[in-house]
Structures are given as C-alpha cells and as structure tokens.
C-alpha cells in the first residue's frame, strides 16, 4: 500500500488503511513514513474526544471498555479502542489479551479495536500511541478510548494524551491501594470503583473520596463512580460525567497547546533517535576492530571514543 493511498483510506474511514497506518507508526524503523502519514492527516484531527482508562492489572478495564464503547456508539457515534499491553522484557514478545474481554461488543457494534504492545517503553505511552490516536481521530471517530496498565507513576503520559482520564480502582487492593494512589490521585478526571458487587467496594469509594478531599481543589470537581461491570450498573452516571468533562475541556483552549508542545518534543526525540540509530549502526559496522579492542583490553568508554573520533570502527 502506498502512503498516499493509506492517507486517503484513513480519511474515508477504511479499516485496512487505518490498520496499516497504525502498523507504520508502531514501527521504529518507519519514522519517515510515519511523519508522512501524520502530515497528510493532521488537518483532519482534533475532533475526537479521547478517553484514557488506567488502573491496576485485572481491575476490569477491558470489561468496562467493552460496555462503555457500546453505550457511546449508540446514536450513530463512531468509537474506536486502543489497548496497550506490556511486552515481555525477556523475549520482546507479548500476549495481547485485552481484546477477549471486549470482543462481543466490538463485532456487534462495528467498533474498531487495536492492540498495541508497548515494546519495552516503560514510563508511559509510546509515541506510536499518540500517532495511532491521530489516525483514528482523522478517520472520523467521535470517541477514542485508550486502555493502559497503570499502577503508579508509570503511566503519567496518559494525562497528556487523553482529554478525559478515568482511573479505575476496586475493592480488595489492600495496602497496595496506598501505593497506587500515590501515583495517580492527581491524574484522574473521573475515578471509578469497579466490582461494586464485591465486599469492600463502599470502603474503597470512601477511601478515594477522602483522598480527593485532601488534594487541592481544582475547577473540575472529580467524581467517584461505582460500577458493576458484570451487570452494567452505574454506567449512566459514568457516561454523563464523561460528557460533562468533555464540555468542561471545551472551555480550556490551553490544553491543546500543552499537548502540541508535548508532541513536538516527541517528534524531535524520534528524529534525533533515528539519526542516532543510523549513525550508531554505521559506527559499529566493523566487528573486527571492536574485537581487537576487546583483545587489547581497552575499556568500552575508550573504545567508544576511539570509534567516534575515527568516524568508524574500522579505524
């Protein structure tokens, strides 16, 4: 597929083009192609309401998104979902398991869903997630929902990317909840206590409300909503708060600028990284010289400096 065809496809909402474009922005080697795609669609972005959903593993994020996506897609709205999973630090592979919990509502309601592996990028969402959101935005989605595993500071990037951040917690997190809260109390626009059918859920709600009461008050009053995602209870309130928060955002033009700053920073990093990659690869070409350094017991720092000074490992 040619880049221009992909761009046209995205703007027409063609799923294959959307899917291929996401693969391109996911691929570290395709920074140039990625930037072509984003350039081609940028004028069509900025309309979607981006909803980030984060919370500890197993708390029910995917189950919840399955329901939420279906409700939001009522009345002819277009909804897409991105779920970010962790790659194995050992093999680089991953099991992308979020889809299973959503599957039913996806196919029935024509909801596009894409799994992304974080490919070792800890500390937040990778650049590819940002670009994937742009692609889905340009494809005419009204809502884009992003699931990320978050159990603390690791996921703070979601704040920059999402218009509305929903933090999902639940009963039975025990002492863990204190550690989790330390990282995410400030980032939630909406708090959810999922698994309200379980013991301890009201306690969890109260705990969160108390913590919120101690954080500095902002313009937006952060609600705490109880959900039973197996039965679908509490979703009216959730949806109504999401809508309200969307309107609230509309009154704050600054967030667009903040986000743009962050995007420019990431684009710069990507370009520098690409140039570095090319250069490093070139510099490391001569394995013989490096083997010689090793034989001569030259330390790696000195070896690196020698290589840099001579312009290549051949020397």
């Amino acid at each position: 597929m040619k880049i221009q065809d992909i761009i046209n496809g995205i703007l027409n909402g063609d799923r294959r083009s959307i899917a291929r474009a996401i693969s391109i922005v996911e691929d570290d080697e395709m920074v140039i192609e990625s930037s072509e795609v984003i350039k081609g669609i940028y004028n069509h972005t900025g309309r979607a309401h981006v909803i980030g959903i984060t919370g500890p593993p197993g708390i029910g994020k995917s189950t919840m998104i399955g329901r939420l996506a279906r409700i939001l897609s009522d009345g002819n709205k277009k909804v897409s979902v991105i779920a970010v999973d962790a790659s194995s630090p050992f093999s680089g592979g991953s099991l992308l398991g979020n889809r299973i919990r959503m599957q039913e509502s996806l196919t029935e309601n024509g909801i596009f869903m894409r799994s992304l592996a974080n490919r070792g990028m800890n500390g937040g969402l990778s650049r590819s997630t940002w670009d994937a959101v742009k692609i889905l935005d340009a494809a005419g989605n009204d809502y884009i929902i992003i699931e990320t595993v978050g159990a603390g500071q690791a996921d703070l990037d979601i704040v920059d990317l999402a218009d509305t951040v929903i933090v999902v917690l639940g009963p039975g997190l025990g002492d863990e909840i204190q550690a989790i809260k330390a990282g995410i109390m400030e980032i939630g626009d909406i708090f959810v206590v999922n698994k309200m059918d379980r013991d301890g859920s009201f306690l969890a709600m109260k705990d969160i409300q108390d913590s919120l009461a101690m954080t500095p008050q902002k313009e937006w009053k952060v609600p705490v909503i109880g959900l039973d995602s197996l039965k679908g209870k509490g979703y009216d309130e959730l949806v109504s708060e999401i809508m309200k928060h969307g309107e609230f955002n509309g009154s704050r033009p600054n967030i667009r600028l903040d986000r743009f700053m962050k995007e420019v920073e990431m684009a710069l990093q990507a370009e520098i990284r690409r140039q570095y990659l090319l250069e490093a690869r070139e510099l490391l070409k001569s394995k013989d010289a490096i083997a010689r350094f090793s034989g001569e017991k030259i330390d790696p720092y000195s070896a690196a400096m020698k290589i840099l000074r001579s312009g290549k490992a051949g020397l």
């Binding site: 570290d28 630090p89 093999s91 680089g92 070792g120």
Partner: protein, 154 residues
C-alpha cells in the same frame, strides 16, 4: 531473529532488532476452550512474537475482521475436529474477497493427511498435527510471516 538479549526491563533497546511478528491465534467455529492454544500462545510470545488470541469460538468473519484491524502477519488456525475444511476454506475465501494477500494463514490440529493438499491449495500451510515440536511451528510461522511482510511493503 528475536534478539531477546537486547531487551532489558524498562528500556527499549530494540534498536537493532526487527519488528516483532504479529500473530492471531484462533480456534474458530466448533469446539470449546483448550489449553493447547494457550501453550502455543506462550511459545509464540517467548519466541518474540506479539500474540493475539481471538477468544472462544470466533466466527470466520470475526477472525478476518480481527486480523485486518490488528494488521497481523499471520493467522494461525487451530482445530481439533473434522470441521476444519469448511472453516478454513471460509476464512481463506473471506480474505480473498477483501483483496488481502499480505496476511499468511497457517493451520494445525488433527488434520487427516488426505486433507492437507486441499488446505495447501487454499494457501493454508503447516497443518501440523499434535506432538509437533513447538520450534517447528515457530519456524514455519516465521517463514510465512516474512513472506507476508514483503508483500505489505509493496
């Protein structure tokens, strides 16, 4: 090359590593959950692949939809009874109908020897039976994935 040795927890050192192969593992149509699929999924992950599991009893349409949306390189179909021919054929027809030639399809399960040529004709290769070493399956998927990849780039 999976290049696992370059990956350190918390750091993406995949700088010199190929993009992972993405596989959709599906057990469509007929019978229920089985552990075999999970064993395969883990083996694929450990070989450095990104693995999606299509869930219980996906229809051929769901399999193809998922494969497109997720832009996988390979669909790996597993079946444990005789209904494979119809289901496998349906999937390869759907792919053809949607003009997709850059996703490879491989099969496995209890497949009578007599059916294998028919599957091959549909472009469904591998078709390994129970007891096949995981490394054989991984190698086959890797080879098919690189063919599919080269078509994606055109």
């Amino acid at each position: 090359m999976s290049g696992g040795m370059y990956l350190v927890d918390g750091k993406n050192l995949s700088l010199f590593k190929d993009k992972p192969i993405k596989v959709l593992l599906a057990k469509p149509g007929i019978d229920g959950h089985d552990r075999g699929v999970l064993v395969l999924a883990k083996a694929f992950r450990d070989a450095g692949m990104e693995v999606l599991y299509a869930g219980l009893l996906p229809t051929p349409e769901e399999v193809v939809d998922t494969a497109i949306n997720e832009d996988v390189d390979v669909i790996a179909l597993s079946l444990l009874n005789g209904a494979h021919l119809t289901v496998f054929r349906k999937i390869s027809e759907l792919l053809k109908k949607r003009g997709i030639d850059d996703i490879a399809v491989v099969g496995g399960g209890t497949i009578p020897d007599g059916d294998k040529p028919k599957l091959e004709k549909l472009g469904i290769t591998g078709n390994y039976g129970p007891g096949t070493p995981l490394s054989t399956i991984v190698d086959h998927i890797t080879a098919r994935a690189s063919e599919a990849r080269s078509r994606k780039m055109q």
